[in-house]
Amino acid sequence: MIEKLRILNRKRTRSAAPELSALKSASDDGLRNALEAELARLVALPTFSSGTDSQGSIISLRKRTSSQESAESIEMIAAELKKYGLSVTMFEQEGYKSVIATTRRTRRPHIMLQAHIDVISANTPELRQLRLADGKYMGRGVYDMKFAIACYMQFVRTHRKQLHRMDFGIMITSDEEVGGFHGAKPLAEQGWGGDIMINPDGGNDWRVESQAKGIWMADIVATGKSAHGSRPWEGDSAVDHLIPALNEIMQLFDNRNKLAPTCNIGKLSAGEAFNQVAGSGHAVLDIRSFSEADVEALELRMQRIAKRHKVACTIEKLGPPVTIDEESPLVRSFAAHVAAVTGKPCRFTVSYGATDSRWFDDPAIQNIVVRPHGGGSHGDDEWMSAEDLAKFYLLIESFVLDNAAI
């Protein structure tokens, strides 16, 4: 059935969708077994994001260190990709390793297949092994997002003799769960990317993200003067500055409105001893918005509030809002391939969260964020549809064959 698909693609123009006969290969036992074996191998790799330090502030988030297992997994994948004749580049920053493998020596292949290999911790032994139950694959990372790596590796393995006739790449990082500051961000800054980058780290149930909110972090710091709890008039409680400031700042946001900028107080700490006036206080805020202009206006108001309450307010953009051009030929081609694989028209959606795609905010890059049916990311019930694993593989295969031929 894969041969039939391949033949089908040679006769087709780049913008045409594959024929319905391609869908039959989703039930191909050989394909499913191969993908399942690959996914099982990847899930068993203990690529947990390290960093038990949960300070949460801008500075400490960047200071978390990589796990040894994640680094070794990247090296293992790099070695395999190199075996298939791909041009492999290793990148490392603060102990976090990334690998980029391209069919040609370029930082900007036509198509870049993106993924992260790091996962959040797995609380139970069951999560560390792939299981199949009721048509669902379960385990840590099956959905977020080792299924994608399994598909990429299977594609390279299957088409290893024709890779030199294609223009695509695979980028795998190991720090997305802790912000991507040492993986996708510096890679983007160094010019890595693609005309289209496919990142199956959002857009559930085959819905392609047309927009994603940007993310900002705000540090609010109050400094007072401690005193004995029985003599508050001799001190200056940091809480008396911090809490009123936070109350006013929260009034600037409407957290019930999904489309508006939102603000969450993620962490707050003040004081040291139960009988001492708090001499200092610190809050960390998580702000999301589809509009940078909205956040700029909010920041001005936040700074005025901070000044009035004598607290320090530092806001840093961790990732811009992301949009794609739904009418671009590449995006339309991708949508057509989604429709062919799923049997339904491709739908678009907005995202309130952020992925590593935000680092590749470039008008010349179309960032596709979409993934199949699944759920439970970061929870104990992470899962994805077993049938959809093969369908996703076919999506990648058909799209790359259709668009990356040289």
Binding site: S230, N264, I265, G266, K267, G271, N275, V277, D286
Partner: protein
Amino acid sequence: MPRNQNEGDDHADTATGDILRKLVSFPTVSGDHRTMAGLLDYVEGYLTARGMHTRRVTSDGFVSLVATTRPGVTRAKVMLAAHADVVPADPAMFALRREGERLRGRGVMDMKFAIAVYMQLVDDIRDRLDDYDFMIVITPDEEIGGGHGLAAVMAEGYRAQVCLLPDGGQDWQIQTASKGYWAFEITASGRPAHGSRPWLGDNALLKLIAVLDAIAALFPRHTGMDTSTISLTRLSGGESMNQIPGTASMTVDIRTIDDADHQRIYDAVQKLCTDAGTTCDVISRSLPTTSDLSHPLIAPYVRAIRDVTGVEPTGWHAPATSDARYLVPHDIPFIAVYPTGGGHHTPDEWLDAGALEDFHVVTRRYLDDVGRRHDGPPGGR
């Protein structure tokens, strides 16, 4: 008073001063049981060598020393109490030094001066101990609540008609009132969710802040010695900046001006917390206290201060509590008075050298006036 000639700069001129120097040299920071044991060994050895009868009271690793003029008794006319634990300090502060008329070191004022005087008094009357009916109680944990020190001694059944506890007042003014105290720990629970989807979660920190605002509204804006006060002392919630916190907690330090406010505030805080769906646990408490300068067992101390120092004690209100709170439930009147000194809990703690001797004289006079066994032994065991 006999005066010892000591060499070097770091000395006090009197025998009492020498005892104080020795006591200060033990860095008895609250919770350091080993160092406290060394101090108690020193004090106990001194007292027993002069005829006092001693016993140790232990509670959860904390050890107090009780010394009586007669063996086996748990009651006396006068209790001379003091705590031997101190707050942390730079190591240099654990060496007494004299700067002019000021004695400096950790604990000189809070409150090892009292222990030194008690020990010196025993030496003064060592040949006539049988004429007196008093006990000395040295405790190890006042700075961290006293729950295993004086509280444990009282639980063992030790009682007195009056207690001298020089851990309050100021500059010879006897404490006549102290505020009550509540320390609450309040915890809120919410519903965690991803930070990008706040509408799916329920932020525990926001709940806690709302409760704090409501509690703060129970208190006057202007605060001072004459009002009940609130301080938020600790607050924490959230583990990751991109998550909605599922739990958050805070501690509040409340001081109450009188019995009525004490109960009113407790009831109001409990109701606010219950209505908000938060838990409220009491982590420490004490009732407001009062002392009457005209009490027949306190008035003699007032006279002694007046006669020795020339200061007329008129009363003093304390914002904080001390181990005296453990005497109140047993209706034991107490005398809380500091001689001249200051800088408690700071690097500048000091005691007037002359005031140390004055305190010695005042307390001796008081003991002669109130602490003698005029009519035979007290109530026995």
